[in-house]
C-alpha cells in the first residue's frame, strides 16, 4: 500500500477528512455500545430457567376467601387432575417468568450479622419438584416429611434445595449440603442442590444473580394457595390449560382466574422478554440507520473527490498507473480515514460506556467489541468506497491531455 503519498494528499484536504473521520468515530462508539446492549438483552432472553418450560403452565386464582384456601386447594387439585392429558397439578407460590412471591435477604448466621444474598423462594407443595423437572446435582429431592406447614411466607424451619449458582456464591469451594441460612427467625438447611432454577421474573439484578433461588417444600394451606402448576405433554399443554381455565368456573366458582398470570411458561417467557426484544429491534434499527448514514457520507465524499480529481487520475494513468492502482489508491485512502475514525471511536466507545454504566446500570463494555466494531466499519468503508473507486479506475489516461 502506498500510504505516505496518500497521507500527504489527505493532508491537503484536512477539513473533509476530519469530518468524515468524526462521523466514523461516532458510528464506532454507538455501534460498539449498541451491539453490546443487544447482545446483553439477547443473552438475557435465552436464560436457562432450569424447568421443563414446554410441559408447564401456571394457573392463578384470585378473589377467593383466604379462610377457605384449604378447601379451594383441595377442589382445584382434584378437579383439574380429572382433565384428560393432565399429568400433574401441584401448588406453588411462583413460577419462572411469573411474578415474584417471596424475595428476601438471607444471612449465614442466626444472629443476622453475616449477610448472604437476596434470593427468591419457590415455596411448593408435593409433586411440584417432579413437575418442574429440576435436575438434582447433589443431596436429595424433597421427601414427604420435608413438606412443612407454611405459617408466614415460608415455613419456619425447612430442608431446602438451592441452585448450584447460589451455593457457589454463599459457600464458594465448600460442600453446601447441610449448610444453614436464615431469614430473620426462619431457618433453612440445605438438603439438595439443583443444576438450575431461574428466579421468578427473568433475571433482574444482573446476569450473575439470575439463579439465586431456593426451592422450599411446603404444605398447601392458607399461605400457599391460589397458584397451581400444571404439567402436560407439550403438544397437549395449550388445550389442557384452556380446559383447566374453563373447569375453574365449575369447580371453584368462588375464585377468579387471573388471565395475565395463567399461561404456559413458554408464553410467560415470551411476554416477559417482549420489551427486551423490542428494544433490541429498535437498537438494530438505530445501528442500521447510523451505518447507512456513515456509508452515504463515505460514498458522497469519495464521489466528490473522484469528480474533483478526474484530471489527476488521468495524469496518474498516463504516468503508468493501472486501473487496479487507482482502485487501490481510493481504497487505501478510505482505509486510512476509517482507521483514524476508529481510533478515535474506540475512545468514544469507552466514554459512552462509562456514561451508560453510570446512568443506566450497563455492564462494562468487553474489549472484544472494539475489534468487532472496527472490522465492521472497515468493511463498511471498503464497501461504500468501492463504487466511486471503480468509477475512478475507469477514468481513461487520455483525460490527462484534455484541458479542464
Amino acid at each position: 500500500m502506498q500510504i505516505q503519498p496518500v497521507l500527504a494528499a489527505l493532508g491537503r484536504h484536512r477539513l473533509a477528512t476530519v469530518l468524515i473521520a468524526l462521523e466514523i468515530a461516532l458510528a464506532c462508539a454507538v455501534l460498539c455500545n449498541a451491539c453490546f446492549l443487544i447482545a446483553s438483552r439477547w443473552q438475557l432472553t435465552r436464560i436457562n430457567s432450569g424447568v421443563d418450560e414446554s410441559s408447564l403452565a401456571a394457573l392463578k386464582l384470585t378473589g377467593y376467601d383466604d379462610a377457605k384456601a384449604d378447601d379451594l386447594n383441595a377442589r382445584v387439585l382434584s378437579g383439574l387432575r380429572m382433565i384428560p392429558g393432565m399429568q400433574s397439578v401441584s401448588v406453588i407460590n411462583a413460577v419462572p417468568f411469573g411474578e415474584h412471591a417471596a424475595t428476601a435477604g438471607i444471612t449465614l448466621d442466626a444472629a443476622g450479622q453475616h449477610f448472604g444474598a437476596v434470593v427468591d423462594f419457590y415455596v411448593a407443595g408435593p409433586g411440584s419438584f417432579q413437575a418442574l423437572g429440576l435436575r438434582l446435582v447433589a443431596g436429595r429431592a424433597p421427601q414427604a416429611d420435608d413438606y412443612q406447614p407454611v405459617h408466614s411466607f415460608v415455613p419456619d424451619d425447612a430442608s431446602v434445595l438451592v441452585t448450584r449458582a447460589l451455593a457457589e456464591h454463599l459457600w464458594p469451594g465448600s460442600d453446601p449440603l447441610g449448610k444453614e441460612f436464615w431469614v430473620d427467625k426462619f431457618h433453612f438447611r440445605v438438603a439438595g442442590v439443583v443444576a438450575h432454577l431461574a428466579r421468578p421474573g427473568g433475571g433482574e439484578g444482573g446476569p450473575g444473580k439470575i439463579e439465586w433461588s431456593v426451592f422450599v417444600p411446603g404444605q398447601p394451606g392458607q399461605q400457599l394457595a391460589g397458584v397451581y402448576l400444571l404439567r402436560a405433554k407439550p403438544a397437549q399443554l395449550p388445550r389442557v390449560l384452556r380446559d383447566a381455565r374453563a373447569a375453574i368456573a365449575r369447580i371453584a366458582p368462588d375464585a377468579v382466574v387471573d388471565s395475565q398470570a395463567s399461561r404456559t411458561l413458554g408464553d410467560l417467557r415470551q411476554r416477559y422478554f417482549q420489551q427486551d426484544r423490542a428494544m433490541a429491534g429498535m437498537l438494530l434499527g438505530v445501528i442500521a440507520a447510523l451505518l447507512l448514514v456513515t456509508a452515504l457520507g463515505i460514498v458522497g465524499l469519495a464521489s466528490f473527490w473522484v469528480q474533483q480529481r478526474r484530471r489527476q487520475i488521468g495524469i496518474r494513468r498516463a504516468l503508468g498507473a493501472t486501473r487496479r492502482d487507482i482502485l487501490h489508491y481510493f481504497q487505501t485512502e478510505n482505509f486510512l480515514i476509517v482507521t483514524g475514525g476508529i481510533a478515535l471511536g474506540m475512545l468514544l466507545a469507552f466514554g459512552l460506556n462509562l456514561f451508560l454504566m453510570k446512568h443506566y446500570e450497563l455492564l462494562r463494555l468487553p474489549l472484544y467489541y472494539l475489534p468487532i466494531g472496527a472490522i465492521a466499519l472497515w468493511l463498511l468503508g471498503q464497501l461504500a468506497v468501492l463504487g466511486p473507486a471503480l468509477r475512478a479506475a475507469a477514468v481513461p489516461p487520455v483525460v490527462a491531455t484534455r484541458s479542464v
Binding site: Q2, P5, A8, A9, R12, H13, R311, Q312, I315, R316, R317, A318, L319, G320, A321, T322, R323, R324, D325, P396, P397, V398, A400, T401, S403
Partner: protein, 239 residues
Amino acid sequence: MLKMNHLSKVYRTEVVETYALRDFNIDVKEGEFVAVTGPSGSGKTTFLTIAGLLETFSGGEYYLDGIEVSNLNDNARSKIRNEKIGFIFQAFNLIPDLNVYDNIEVPLRYRGMKTAERKQRIMDALERVGLSSRARHYPAELSGGQQQRVAIARALAGSPRLLLADEPTGNLDTQMARGVLELIEDIHRGGATIVMVTHDPELAARAQRNVHIIDGQVVDLAEEPRFHAHAAEAAHEYR
C-alpha cells in the same frame, strides 16, 4: 522506435463519423528529435495521445519499440507508458496535492522501484533541472517555468526511451520557454527519442526533422515552402 502504418482514428457519434487521423503514416527512428506541426484541429494531439498509448486507434498498425500495440491490454499499455514513455504536457499536469518530490516519485512508485533508488533518481532529476531546493514545494508555489521543469524532471527520473511533449512551452514566456527547450534538447543528447507536438514553427525548427499534419494526415513539407522558410528564420532567431 515509433512506426505507424495507415493508422486511423475515428470519433463516432450516432449521426456522424469524424476522422481525427486518416491513413496516417510516420516512422520515427531511435534517437531522433521530431517536431510534429500543424494547424489547430489537424490531429497533432490525437497523434500524440495514440503514440503515448493514452488512447486506442480505430485502424492500421502501430509499432512501438518493435511491439505491435493494438492488441495489448490495459495493464500492458500502462506498463509501457510507465517504463518507456515520458510525457511533457502543455498544462504541466502536476498533481496539486503532492509536493515536487512526491510528484516526481509517482511514476517510479508505479514501477515498483525501491525507496533508495527512487530517492537517488528524484534528486538527480531535480539537480538536472535546477530545482533541488524546491523539492518540498507544492506546484501552486512555483512559477509556470518551474512547474514545467518539475514535469521534465518527472519524465527524466523514469529514464524514458521515448519522450512525448505536447506544446511544452505553450504556457511559458520566451525566456522560460528557452530554458525548457534546452532541457529537452539535453534529454535528446542523452539518447532519448523525442516527439514534440507544436504549432510554433520556431520551436519546430529546433528539431532534427519536422512532420506536418493537416486534416489528420502527414503531408510533405516540400509542398509547404512558406512554412519551411518561416521556420528556418525563426529557428535562427531563437538561437
